[in-house]
Symmetry: C2
Subunit: 188 residues, 2 copies
DNA sequence: ATCTGGGTAGACAAATTTGTCTACTTTAGG
DNA sequence: CCTAAAGTAGACAAATTTGTCTACCCAGAT
């Protein structure tokens, strides 16, 4: 078992559930069963560990979503599958990724509010990467570049909206609501 | 000048910009120019101060939005005015409320992730209150209870999505994008 | 006039934070 | 086999956290 990986997983679990500034290094150490020296051998400072958790989550979440969207025909169906995936996530039926506590990248961006901060910028990059995953599928079913752009923007708005509503307000129907809107936009 | 109010304002400014756990009591004291004893005279603990900042922001933000939506005819126009207001906010043209650093309630919910925590619950209540403000206007232009419910859900999704995209990704066009979608839904 | 409540400045306690360092052990490869 | 890297436990430093407390000031109501 790789100690670095152990650290990153434990740190992610704690940071995701309780927030980054609320969780001290010692909690991560205790949870992962790794020595402090080892942590500082792998990471120069807490910030580097935080970035590693973002990298970890980015990989995990993207793989999960890519997989879900690839299991149906590309285009319209894949875009609807996105919201089915979110629905499973909100209802605790997504075993590949952790139990739902909101979007890690939104949560981290809230704690590192300055857009110029590397950690915030890294979260923005994740969002851009998911956006480009959706873009591929939008291009499958849009009739013009203009419509594609409009569709992509709308999908991203609804996706973020669903995640936030599910977390802040605890309304787990949010994914289904968003799916319904998307279905209406994709009838053409 | 009311010391309690001074404290709440300074605390809100700092918490909103830098996050709650990242800002210590002493920072709030220094910024507000109030003595520590006075803080603990008005608030039993930091949590109570946090709740007071939420109360403060809830009042401020709701008043601002209500005012913006009341300056045009109720119904369709008011709902579009919501997104114009967001657009102004994102572009730093909303002087009544602070410069844009995301939604305070989403940010706080990220730091207090447990939905059962009173602070998280208070944020959810704010969202519910804004939702019911929108509901009044939706009822003005919906043709059925079913359509009204669908419209309201969609508006809320787009609103949260726009705020998150503007903050995390720094895409300040998000409000205009959302407005366009809403305009499409409200043509009837 | 005096007493009460809100205020100030800041020392202090106790816990916790990040990060360093020592001294020792384990493990894997040349 | 032996060296070098990675690991352990945990003491320690220095700063920072929340919250309490002392000692004093001042203004307004009784």
């Amino acid at each position: 078992m790789d100690k670095r990986e152990q650290l990153v997983r434990a740190a992610f679990d704690l940071f995701y559930r309780e927030g980054i500034h609320a969780v001290g290094i010692n909690r991560v150490l205790a949870e992962s069963g790794v020595a402090k020296k080892t942590l500082y051998h792998h990471f120069p400072a807490k910030d580097a560990l935080i970035e590693a958790t973002i990298e970890y989550r980015d990989r995990r979440f993207s793989d999960w979503l890519r997989h879900r969207m690839a299991s149906v025909p590309a285009g319209r169906e894949a875009l609807l599958a996105l919201f089915d995936a979110l629905d499973d996530w909100f209802h605790g039926r997504a075993t590949d990724i952790q139990a739902f506590h909101g979007c890690y990248f939104i949560n981290v961006s809230a704690e590192f509010g300055d857009p110029a901060h590397p950690i915030h910028a890294r979260c923005a990059r994740h969002k851009a990467s998911i956006r480009s995953l959706l873009a591929e599928h939008v291009n499958h079913c849009a009739e013009s570049a203009e419509q594609a752009s409009y569709l992509l923007d709308t999908l991203c708005l609804l996706k973020e909206g669903a995640i936030v509503r599910a977390h802040v307000e605890g309304d787990r129907r949010a994914a289904q609501q968003a799916r319904q809107v998307v279905a209406g936009l994709l009838v053409d």
